[in-house]
């Protein structure tokens, strides 16, 4: 028993389930048929499964003007009254409705269920490409990867833009080199390309040249600074002379001032002024600060001021002399500093000149011994140093014009060479980067190729897998018909769009919905659903098909049933709900393997009784029960026997290719069929196994043999079946119960011989040497 099979489903106050209804499925059987005429509650019970396992409102899910909380409960019931249960592997899950939300408890490990409904069939087959895509979206939607893929062409474009920009840089640098080459190449360099020339020039000693430029510039700057300091020194010296002359003039004025000893007078004025200052500070003193004699401080101060007033001119001269002394002193200091600054700078200049390469001096010569004191200068101003400094400045003046001219020449050479070097370096570096970018772009382009290829292969792989599976199933249902070959492909122009094409009467790539009949579209949708489920959900899946096949004929029903029984072996369980009685009769007459299926028939529904369902037994079991009953029901036995003769022999004579007297309606009586079977019964050999796993043994030789049973039935058919079972006439009164029981017993024996005891089906499958039932425990070898 598979782990995921649903064993029971219950519904309470769910749509048609006005009372609690439970359908039990035999877990040993993989196929469940729920038959019920329209309005008996099939979809309600499937809705219960959908609620529990998929938490959806089932039939009402996509219907317009429907509110789940209002319409999912039985009319007159409340959402809180509603519940649905599913039991599988001994565990039960319960779904309830709160508002419009469906909750399943426990919420783990619910059976994996896929449900195909009539309205979904239209979505799968007749839907627009985008709707069809949505049905498969969760399996093939790779929008995330596609968004990342979309960034790749942008990366390639950015790479191309960088290549273009850097190529332009190379072109511009080349243009500069070409111009420099034209202007500056020597005749010996004429054979070189601008690049070769630039490389050669770049390899030259730019460092030495630049160093020379720096040295010369330093010399020029130092000489300039020394010249400035020389001017400052001269100005300072002139100023000092002026100060000295001014002091001399003051002294002469003092000398001419007069009768007192000038020097003494000046000292006295100074003394009186200081005494006056003292008395001003020592206010109120009553003694002389010099002789300490008693005297009024105020009177003494007044007397001093009077004497100073009389000595005014002398006072002014004294002040002028004092200022002249200070001026001379300051000028002397300033002049000394100017000398020191000048000598220091000239000292530096002397060293620079001494170190100057001969090539820079030109014709100028430097007689160093003339400047011994200057080169040995140690911050002391001596006449020798001052004199040598002046001499050096004079000597260098002749050199400086040459130095300035040479500096200008070498500077131009250095600028040109640096420009060439930079342009050449740009060419080399940019070309390297362009090469690198080309390589990156190459990788990006290959990446894009791989990503696109893998994406398409991924999606097409899934679609092809589904299409192959779908096509395989479809050809089993429609063998030999000139239609099918359904393919699916993503629309390259539109995102989220899945196109569908098929074959019809030799025409390829047609739209199936335009050419296929309704029944063919139904089966196409069924195959598509089954293929998608198998490809994408895998094993441990239960599929439920809710009244999908509305317009298929009996031949197609049998083939669909074969697909469901044999093409879904990797699925846990198949539950088929239908209102077509043909499906039910296939099993009741055991044209389908009755023992492999769980058959449930839903009875008439009413609001008061709710949904009613019960198990269905095959007609053969009814006959056996009637024969075993202590009170023989003659009509039931006769009628059931006739029904079984027609259903079993109707199918077997076809598969055994028995000859039969044809009629325009292509419908045959039990008599026709028994006559047809009589000849075949002589030659065929029936082998059957009593149980699963046991080798079949020959059973048709009896006793009684198949031939004897068919012959006897043919003889007694008219009397028993027609007279007792079907019609009223007085002849039936002459037929004993024993005859009826024997007739029924022979029918039962014939059926047990022609129906498999293991699977419950007929041997209708063509094998190379025989016919076999679905489980191969019953085999019929033609004579």
């Amino acid at each position: 028993m598979a782990q995921g099979r649903i064993e029971a489903v219950s519904a309470t106050k769910l749509r048609g389930a006005s009372r609690t209804t439970t359908l039990k499925f035999d877990p040993s059987k993989r196929f469940v048929l729920v038959f019920g005429e329209n309005g008996t509650g099939k979809s309600t019970m499937i809705d219960a499964i959908d609620m529990v396992c998929n938490q959806t409102a089932g039939t009402l899910q996509d219907r317009s003007s429907v509110t789940v909380s209002k319409h999912l409960p039985t009319i007159g019931a409340k959402a809180g009254d509603l519940s649905a249960q599913v039991t599988s592997s001994g565990q039960t899950w319960t779904a309830t409705l709160k508002g419009s939300k469906i909750t399943t408890a426990p919420d783990l490990d619910t059976p994996n269920v896929a449900i195909l409904r009539r309205h979904k069939v239209l979505k799968l087959v007749e839907a627009t490409p985008s709707e069809r895509f949505n049905e498969l979206k969760r399996f093939i939607d790779v929008a995330g990867v596609q968004r990342s893929e979309d960034a790749l062409p942008k990366a390639i474009k950015a790479c191309t833009q960088r290549i273009d920009a850097k190529t332009r840089d190379v072109d511009q640098a080349d243009e500069r080199l070409k111009q420099a080459f034209t202007e500056h190449h020597t005749p010996e360099e004429a054979q070189l390309s601008p690049r070769q020339w630039a490389k050669r020039r770049s390899d030259g000693d730019v460092k030495t040249l630049s160093a020379s430029v720096v040295t010369l510039k330093n010399l020029i700057d130092t000489h300039g600074a020394a010249s400035t300091l020389l001017e400052a020194k001269n100005t300072s010296k002139t100023n000092l002379d002026d100060m000295r002359n001014a002091r001399k003039a003051v002294l002469e004025k003092i000398k001419a001032a007069g009768d007192v000893d000038t020097e003494t007078g000046i000292v006295l004025v100074d003394l009186l002024a200081k005494a006056g200052d003292y008395l001003g500070k020592a206010e109120g003193t009553q003694e002389c600060p010099v002789c300490l004699q008693p005297v009024s401080g105020a009177d003494l101060a007044s007397e001093i001021q009077e004497r100073l007033g009389k000595m005014t001119e002398l006072t002014s001269l004294a002040k002028a002399l004092s200022k002249a002394d200070e001026d001379v002193k300051a000028a002397t200091n300033h002049t000394q500093q100017s000398y020191m600054g000048l000598i220091g700078k000239v000292f530096s200049l002397a060293k620079l000149v001494d170190a100057l390469d001969v090539e820079h001096r030109g014709a100028w010569t430097f007689n160093k011994p003339q400047f011994t004191h200057l080169f040995e200068w140690a911050d002391e101003l001596t006449k020798e140093v001052i004199a040598e400094s002046d001499a050096l400045m004079d000597a260098v003046a002749a050199l400086m014009e040459h130095i300035k001219s040479r500096h200008e020449t070498l500077s131009k050479q250095a600028t040109l060479l640096n420009g060439i070097k930079q342009s050449y370096a740009t060419c080399v570096a940019m070309e390297k980067e362009v090469k690198r970018e080309f390589a990156v772009r190459g990788v990006l382009e290959k990446m894009l190729e791989v990503v696109r290829r893998e994406r398409l292969a991924f999606i097409n792989g899934i679609l092809d897998g589904i299409a192959d599976e779908c096509d395989g199933l479809y050809s089993k249902i429609h063998p030999g018909e000139k239609l099918g070959s359904v393919r699916f492909a993503m629309d390259q122009e539109k995102k989220g769009s899945l196109n569908q094409s098929g074959q019809f009467e030799g025409h390829k790539d047609i739209a199936p919905q335009a050419y296929f009949s309704d029944s063919h579209l139904d089966t196409l949708a069924f195959c598509f659903f089954l293929a998608v489920t198998k490809q994408t959900m895998g094993a441990n899946t239960v599929i439920v098909i809710d009244d999908v096949f509305t317009s298929v004929d009996m031949g197609h029903i049998k083939r669909i049933l074969n697909v469901l029984l044999e093409g879904t072996e990797d699925l846990d369980q198949v539950i088929l709900a239908t209102h077509q009685r043909r499906w039910l009769d296939l099993f009741m007459t055991q044209q389908a393997p009755m023992n492999e299926a769980c058959i449930i028939q839903l009875r008439e529904w009413s609001l008061a009784t709710g949904i009613c369902g019960d198990d269905v037994k095959p007609y053969l079991e009814d006959l056996q029960a009637s024969l075993a009953a202590p009170k023989l029901n003659r009509r039931d036995v006769s009628s059931l026997s006739g029904f079984l003769i027609e259903s079993v022999l109707g199918e077997m004579t076809k598969h055994l290719n028995c000859s039969i007297k044809r009629n325009p309606r292509d419908k045959y009586t039990a008599h026709d069929l028994l006559s047809s079977m009589t000849k075949a019964a002589k030659t065929i050999k029936v082998y059957a196994a009593p149980a699963k796993g046991v080798d079949p043994v020959l059973i048709s030789d009896g006793p009684p043999s198949l031939q004897e049973l068919v012959t006897d039935l043919r003889t007694t058919l008219d009397d028993v079946r027609n007279a007792v079972g079907d019609h009223f006439n007085w002849d039936a009164a002459d037929i004993s119960d024993e005859t009826v029981r024997t007739f029924g017993g022979n029918v039962e024996a014939m059926c047990r011989m022609l129906l498999c005891g293991v699977c419950g089906g007929m041997a209708t499958r063509e094998k190379r040497t025989h016919l076999a039932c679905s489980c191969s425990h019953l085999r019929i070898a033609r004579g």
Binding site: L108, N112, G144, L152, K154, V440, V443, K446, F458
Partner: protein, 72 residues
């Protein structure tokens, strides 16, 4: 559906990204050391121009690519 099944139901973007990364590495168009960053961005649509460029640069710089470059 069991938890296990839910866990193993790979988002198609993830499944595809794994396939792409594997092929790129096989074809020496992605340095294996970047597969983690690749798989953290590509399935979610977060791989930018810069990311692709970085991956391409790295693969060019990788010894494996340089060794094999001459064979292509």
């Amino acid at each position: 559906m069991t938890d296990e099944q839910r866990d193993t139901t790979l988002d198609p973007n993830d499944a595809l990204a794994v396939k792409i990364a594997s092929t790129l590495i096989k074809e020496r168009l992605l340095d294996g050391t970047h597969s983690k960053s690749f798989l953290s961005k590509v399935p979610d649509g977060k791989a930018s121009e810069t990311d692709w460029h970085t991956w391409a640069e790295k693969v060019l710089a990788s010894k494996e690519f340089n060794d094999g470059a001459g064979q292509n």
